[in-house]
Symmetry: C2
Subunit: 321 residues, 2 copies
């Protein structure tokens, strides 16, 4: 199934079922919001599946990706991992940080009261903060009991997302050094317009990972196409990590961290910091600047056949008023 949230004047918007090819949608009137669906998945899923299949056969209204809100315009919890070792190892090398021990996922709790639409301009206070994108995948889970293990966690993965975790790189190391994690360095994320059930990926949903490339373009030029599979921990393991000492509320979003592959020199990166890190290793100084107001980033993950999945994130950064 595929879902989008369209604006209706409320903070949570109106849940819509979207056709597989993202061309049409119908309102999911009985469920109202995606948050409500996450709280009552088993109750609502069968009727929504029927509605989805009917929509794929025809009918519905034209679906305009640029009109959609984030699938969850706000969430009770956003926990972002950093599960791609090739990214983490590079960052540690460049910034001469202590290597973090392997065998344990990295995760922080981020701002969840606002997720930005995929095509809205993104306001930042200053270019001096080092404006960077981070292309990621994410999951939305239903309620997860405390102490759930990775194997059991799988059934709680109800929807997949494609996310841009906006990051302010000048502020990030200052906050990281305190051990407290990021507040200023991690403002609201943007999310691609369509959330999909894992079965929509077919064989490309594998070991609780998205085995597909995330195409990233900066100002219209190819920037990276790293594959999502190479997580050192799958989303099932990230859920188990998060649920070790807490209940995960239905509608919790968990992120993969910046998608990265070991062959980043060939395949490119999903954030500027990684490319700058490579440049620092190679030449001693970064060449690629962080984003300036007016710069544009586009991110999209399609099937190996080229069919759309989540729709595209396509955004311009602007000066906050």
């Amino acid at each position: 199934m595929k879902f989008a949230t369209l604006p209706n004047g409320t903070p949570d918007g109106a849940l819509h079922v979207v056709s597989r090819d993202l061309t049409r949608s119908t309102s999911a009137d009985d469920v109202a919001t995606l948050q409500s669906l996450m709280e009552n998945w088993d109750t609502h899923a069968p009727a929504l599946q029927t509605q989805y299949e009917a929509l794929n056969s025809g009918g519905g209204d034209p679906f305009d990706q640029s009109a959609a809100l984030a699938p969850l315009p706000r969430a009770w919890q956003w926990l972002d991992g950093s599960a791609y070792d090739s990214h983490g190892d590079l960052m540690q090398k460049v910034f001469k940080m202590d290597p973090t021990p392997k065998g344990r996922p990295l995760m922080y709790q981020g701002m969840s009261h606002e997720f930005l639409p995929a095509t809205a301009d993104v306001p930042f206070p200053s270019e001096d903060d080092g404006i960077d994108f981070e292309g990621e995948f994410g999951i939305i889970c239903d309620a997860v009991p405390m102490g759930t293990d990775a194997q059991t966690a799988n059934v709680h993965i109800r929807l997949l997302l494609q996310i841009n975790d906006w990051s302010l790189r000048t502020l990030a190391p200052i906050e990281m050094k305190t051990g407290f994690g990021w507040v200023q360095a991690k403002p609201a994320c943007s999310v691609a317009p369509v959330a999909v059930t894992p079965d929509e990926l077919g064989d490309a949903w594998r070991d609780a990972r998205v085995d597909l490339p995330l195409q990233v373009d900066l100002n219209g030029a190819h920037f990276g196409a790293a594959d999502g599979y190479h997580m050192s921990f799958g989303f099932d393991e990230l859920i188990a990590h998060a649920a070790r000492t807490r209940i995960l509320v239905a509608g919790t979003i968990i992120g993969s961290g910046t998608v990265s592959n070991e062959n980043f020199r060939e395949i490119g990166s999903s954030c500027l910091a990684e490319r700058r890190g490579i440049e620092m290793l190679d030449t001693g100084t970064p060449q690629t600047p962080y984003m300036a107001f007016g710069d544009h980033v586009r991110m999209e993950c399609r099937t190996r056949e080229g069919d759309p999945i989540f729709g595209a994130i396509s955004q311009k950064v602007v000066q906050a008023s």
Copy 2:
């Protein structure tokens, strides 16, 4: 004004106005929830003030602190500071951490989808995790624009809280070392039953700080009574720090961090980690154990005249089922 949230079968409960002496309450039917009040403070405050004054003259229903939920049973955002240098400096000394630079508040984003009632048993998965309390003060703000400075931030401080920020000390340094902040080490907080407007503190609300002692008792014995005033940054400055690169959603809760005073040897502490730190400095090894299942902690802040303000947190830790 004083407010409590009583259970009504919904996640957010029902907002009630509580008499100054915490003996009686009346339902705030027009507002419904504390979150709704935070979103529409100016609209609702005048009528609630009238209702509060009438209640202080008599009438209403008996108010039972132990029946109340947390004032906000869930919140869109919980940002906890660590604003008492005497605590931070001691912890850094004991754990041989790099000193964090002064001049910049410490703050992390914590779990906000559940705040526990003040008298409910608190379930933890294991005593081996190093179960500790942290007595704190907090504020709830209405919507704060991005870039708000400390001076302007003051008007956004609508309510004050008394909080127990439960902490798992065995897990905390592991997570802190990554720079990502805490997920496993910081499960749900508990909150005293009554939220109060700053004017309820009279002169004891000073420089955006609570100038009153927080009385902490462990298993019925006095443990500490540190004064809330000695924050290196007031709540106004903590708001400005948090709002540097993001809008703060109405109903954001910001915490002070563990209340601590420089004379902690005389006045005691608001968490076990601090007392253990003192013991480690004095004797090389901590003497005071972390909490065991069945242990009880009580926290209350009263006026200098001994009148109740927030009510009391009074809780037993238990094994999670």
